[in-house]
């Protein structure tokens, strides 16, 4: 046991040392973006300068650190089964990707860049962003969500502040659990139409990482951080759209961490260990419901599925005027129309800029209507997707796979290793190892 602790502490120390060296070394590449104004002596009007682009070495370094941390997180979760090592790695992630790299580029946000690049051929996406998107998904496909455990700065910052976890009522978890799908759909819709990068706009932690931000961002961040002290990873579980993709990958993953290192003795000690509701209990032998009723329900679900999908598709498509207002062009067209029809006397900088461009209003309106049409189609797809998610979840709780042991829910488990230490088999194994 002691040996193990020494090993993990050494690994952590090594990592921190590595990051410190990296930070000192890279300071050579930093540039003053804005020269300090000089007020004390004779004032000289400074030349306007364009900030140099970020040194390319950062991109390579970010990628290298991401890959290294994914490897380490996977190693600590699968081979070492060490909660301590994962915890230290999480600290490193928050320091590096969060406070030092200011939360950008991040895999969660890269989803938007990928989407925009797919729909807008003029948008050039850097390779590093593609890899930031793909690497965690690939790792998850093989090893489960080790990325969430200790690499994602958004997840780890919540992990670090979780002090006294409490279990949310099932009904609330179920309802809130639908939101990440909705958020994923909205994120894709807004990114595909070029309207907005929703994840970045509502990133709750970036203001803290940057020690700067608008009041609403700071309030949002404070809300999530305070909530995270008692509710395990609220952003990851009830908001994160990338988490949905990771969850799907994890469900199909080749290997995944398990609660017990060998066999489950059904001691039930781990039953309440997971603050993320990712431990599935054994299924009791006696099902009070007969098989026929279950089958009938399943048939009914499959029968009404098209209706649910179409209903949600239709209702969401009706929201296209509202949703499209997120797009700059639609907002501008609306403003111009209100100005021209005398509904408002107040012009905006945007409307003044538009008028000075000499672009005909008709061209603007045509473009705005084209975007609204895209949102109409997008609304159908988004609603249909939500309908599919609801049906899928209902099917999920209608087909109960027989389960004898306490198992990890691969979709929800973030491989944090918290449950390992609750397992007496784990403790025994570690003891045996130390004795050996």
């Amino acid at each position: 046991m002691k040996k193990l602790n020494i090993n993990t502490s050494r690994a952590g120390l090594f990592l921190i040392l590595f990051i410190v060296i990296l930070m000192i070394g890279s300071s050579a590449f930093t540039q003053n973006r804005f020269p300090k104004p000089e007020f004390e002596s004779d004032y000289q009007q400074s030349q306007t300068t364009t900030p140099d682009p970020q040194a390319q070495i950062y991109e390579v370094m970010d990628l290298f650190v991401l890959f290294l941390m994914l490897v380490l997180a996977t190693y600590f979760a699968h081979r070492k089964r060490s909660r301590h090592a994962l915890f230290i790695l999480a600290i490193v992630s928050v320091i590096y990707f969060g406070f030092w790299r200011k939360g950008c580029v991040c895999s969660v946000g890269s989803l938007q860049n990928i989407t925009l690049a797919l729909f807008d051929k003029s948008f050039m996406i850097p390779v590093v962003v593609v890899l930031f998107f793909a690497l965690p998904l690939i790792f998850t496909l093989f090893f489960g969500r080790t990325f969430c455990a200790s690499v994602c700065p958004l997840g780890t910052v919540q992990e670090l502040v979780l002090i006294r976890p409490m279990t949310l009522p099932k009904w609330l978890s179920r309802i809130l659990g639908l939101f990440p799908y909705l958020y994923l759909g909205l994120t894709l819709l807004f990114a595909a139409t070029g309207a907005a990068f929703l994840i970045c706009r509502f990133d709750p932690f970036v203001a803290f990482f940057r020690m700067n931000g608008s009041l609403d961002m700071l309030i949002l961040g404070a809300f999530f951080l305070v909530t995270s002290t008692v509710i395990g990873r609220p952003y990851c579980r009830f908001v994160c759209p990338y988490g949905v993709l990771l969850g799907w990958m994890s469900s199909l993953s080749r290997t995944h961490v398990t609660i017990t290192p060998d066999e489950c003795i059904k001691c039930r000690l781990c039953e309440n260990a997971c603050p993320y509701d990712a431990i599935q209990k054994p299924v009791p032998e006696q099902n009070p419901e007969n098989r026929k009723t279950g089958l009938r329900r399943l048939k009914m679900l499959l029968l009404i599925a098209p209706l649910v999908i179409l209903t949600l598709g239709w209702t969401f498509s009706r929201l296209h005027p509202l949703l499209s207002r997120v797009h700059y062009t639609v907002r501008l067209a609306d403003q111009i129309q209100r100005e021209d029809s005398g509904q408002t006397d107040l012009t905006t900088l945007e409307s003044q800029g538009f008028r000075s461009s000499g672009t005909p209003t008709k061209v603007l309106y045509d473009e705005a209507l084209r975007i609204q049409k895209q949102f109409n189609i997008g609304g159908w797809i988004l609603g249909g997707f939500m309908g599919l998610v609801i049906i899928w979840q209902l099917v999920g709780v209608s087909i109960i796979r027989h389960r004898k042991d306490y198992e990890i829910d691969r979709f929800s488990c973030v491989s944090c290793a918290r449950c390992f230490n609750y397992c007496p088999r784990e403790k025994n194994k570690k003891k045996t190892k130390v004795n050996e």
């Binding site: 104004p37 007020f39 670090l160 002090i163 006294r164 099932k170 009904w171 179920r174 309802i175 659990g177 639908l178 803290f208 020690m211 700067n212 009041l215 002290t229 039930r268 000690l269 039953e271 309440n272 209990k281 299924v283 009791p284 099902n287 009070p288 419901e289 949600l312 209702t315 009706r318 005027p321 509202l322 207002r325 639609v330 067209a333 609306d334 129309q337 209100r338 100005e339 021209d340 029809s341 012009t347 003044q352 008028r355 000075s356 461009s357 000499g358 005909p360 209003t361 008709k362 061209v363 309106y365 705005a368 209507l369 609204q372 939500m386 609801i390 209902l394 709780v397 209608s398 609750y422």
Partner: protein, 568 residues
């Protein structure tokens, strides 16, 4: 042994107690910093160092006394102080952020330590009853359905309150067809009627009226702002422009009763000169001399400020642009004309003259051509045996352009002076004239781009009024009140009539009659014939400089103050 156990137990307890104390202190510290930061945040948001009232007052004083060095020093000191205060607040925010972060971190670490040292083994009583498994599954189904239903209800409610804000009902459609020739001829689409040639078709207005007793006066209405522009009519709507130093406006009147239906202010156009920097214009030109043009879907107006504005039939702006304030010593006066979806702007000025063709529905520039000297004349659009031509005059020449591509078809240098009269066309002959120059008849052909000068005449020539031509005759009206009728083929004078007042307005051919209103508002109506026959001289009761519009059995005349509708 007991002593030993006591030590072992008191160790963790002490760490727990220390951690708790540190957590409390750190929490208090963070809270204080947080409150200070919030206060500081609002202070920074409220203060703009470059817009402090004290600084603004001093700046105003400096404007009144620009050489006051002491005042300048005072401004500099105050400016420096304000900036320092602002950046100090920013620094405090940043430093406070770091301090709070440290405090929160310390608190979290302490709390973590506390939770590590207060860990208990899982409580057997906390384990759920396995028999609840199926109940939980049932509940899950229920809540997923509830969530889904909530989603539908929420989206239905939101969609009920959501409407598309972009209403294109008033916007022109690029694919909308141009009006038919029949429609155009039935209306009065621009200065001097369809094609700008001074011919009214299918009309039968009265030849006598009396403003005093109201005979044949259908209505009379006041025009809000003055202007030299002429009325343009499409169906039941009449369009005019008016302007003064405070505003440039387009008016739409109901032809049924003369009620003003809407007014469109040509404002908020980028590049448009501000009210105190308007171009200098003479009183007899003004800021609203160019006549609008319409295709029955849109109306385009031009002002002496260079503002070109397109509105739909309900007065909503479709597009607007400023063409640059024209360099014109009297004020820009050339009217607009439209043809097959394009609006043509003769933008002749002292320097950088242009002929523009804009897409009417979008305002997009289709083509532009460089032009020569200044003029105040307007383009006419003619059908030269199947070839459409846009004919313009300036202080040097008469020019013809292909309306679709802007190509110069022919150019004849036959004019001189400050040209106000536009060209006239009839049966393969183009007539141009100007005071101090000559009246010239140009024989044109669709096969050739080299017109022949058929004849020239240099006696009584117009300075503003445009010629009126038929196959056989040409009418010229001067600013002094002399009207000459020439043989269109030879230039020989058929008759000459001296009226009491001069003419700025252009003669309009109505069946076999010519309507020509003089500067005092008396309409001289005579037969278009080789011999002079006066048919009537009804008076308007006020001066008039514009050219009337003839639609159906009505005449719409703009006086200096009122708009008149005269009809049977």
């Amino acid at each position: 042994m007991a002593e030993n156990n006591k030590v072992q137990k008191s160790g963790p307890r002490m760490i727990y107690a220390i951690a708790r104390s540190v957590a409390v202190v750190a929490a208090g510290f963070s809270l204080v910093i947080c409150v200070l930061m919030i206060a500081n945040y609002f202070q920074v948001q409220a203060v703009d160092p470059l817009d402090s009232p004290a600084l603004q007052t001093l700046l105003q004083q400096l404007e009144e006394n620009p050489s006051d060095e002491q005042l300048k020093d005072q401004i500099r000191s105050l400016d420096l102080l304000a900036r320092k205060a602002y950046f100090t607040s920013k620094w405090q925010l940043k430093t406070g952020g770091f301090l709070m972060l440290c405090g929160v971190l310390l608190m979290l670490i302490s709390l973590k330590i506390m939770s590590e040292f207060s860990k208990k083994d899982p409580d057997q009583n906390g384990f759920s009853d396995p028999s609840n498994f199926w109940t939980e599954i049932r509940q899950s189904r229920k809540w997923i359905i509830t969530g889904g239903t909530g989603l539908v209800i929420l989206s239905v409610i939101l969609s009920a309150f959501t409407q598309s804000s972009i209403d294109q009902s008033g916007m022109p459609d690029a694919g909308a067809s141009s009006p038919s020739q029949e429609e155009v001829l039935r209306n009065w689409t621009n200065f001097r009627g369809p094609g700008g040639n001074g011919h009214a078709s299918a009309v039968n207005p009265p030849i006598d009226w009396n403003v005093e007793d109201g005979t044949h006066i259908l209505w009379k209405t006041e025009v809000p702002k003055s202007g030299m522009s002429s009325p343009v009519v499409w169906d039941d709507r009449l369009f005019l422009t008016g302007a003064d130093v405070s505003a440039r406006q387009i008016y739409c009147f109901d032809t049924a009763n003369g009620h003003l239906l809407w007014t469109h202010d040509a404002k908020g156009i980028p590049g448009s000169p501000s009210d105190n920097k308007l171009p200098n214009v003479t009183e007899d030109t003004g800021l609203a001399a160019p006549t609008v043009t319409t295709d029955g879907r849109l109306v385009v107006a031009l002002f002496a400020t260079g503002d070109l504005v397109c509105v739909n039939m309900t007065g909503d702006r479709v597009w607007a642009k400023n063409l640059g304030v024209p360099d014109n010593h009297y004020g820009h006066a050339s009217s607009l004309i439209s043809h097959e979806g394009l609006v043509f702007v003769q933008y002749d000025q002292n320097e950088n003259s242009k002929l523009f063709a804009f897409e009417m529905h979008s305002g997009v520039l289709k083509w532009e051509m460089d032009r020569g000297p200044i003029s105040w004349a307007s383009p006419i659009c003619i059908d030269n045996h199947g070839r459409m031509e846009l004919i313009l005059t300036n202080s040097e020449s008469a020019d013809s352009y292909d309306p679709q591509i802007g190509q110069l078809l022919w150019h004849v240098e036959c004019l001189y002076g400050e040209v106000g009269p536009s060209a006239a066309y009839s049966e393969g002959m183009v007539f141009v004239a100007n005071e101090y120059a000559t009246a010239t008849a140009l024989k044109i052909s669709d096969q050739s781009n080299a017109p022949e000068i058929a004849w020239e005449w240099d006696e009584y020539l117009p300075n503003a009024s445009s010629p009126l031509a038929t196959k056989d005759l040409l009418i010229l009206a001067t600013g002094d009140g002399i009207v000459n009728c020439l043989d269109a083929k030879t230039g020989k004078v058929r008759w000459e009539q001296d009226f009491d007042d001069g003419f700025y307005s252009s003669p309009i051919l109505v069946n076999d009659r010519v309507y020509l209103i003089d500067l005092s508002g008396v309409m001289q109506i005579f037969r278009m014939d080789a011999s002079f026959e006066l048919l009537g001289s009804p008076a308007l009761g006020e001066d008039s400089f514009s050219t009337p519009a003839f639609v159906g059995d009505r005449i719409y005349i703009r006086g200096v103050e009122h708009l008149f509708c005269i009809g049977n």
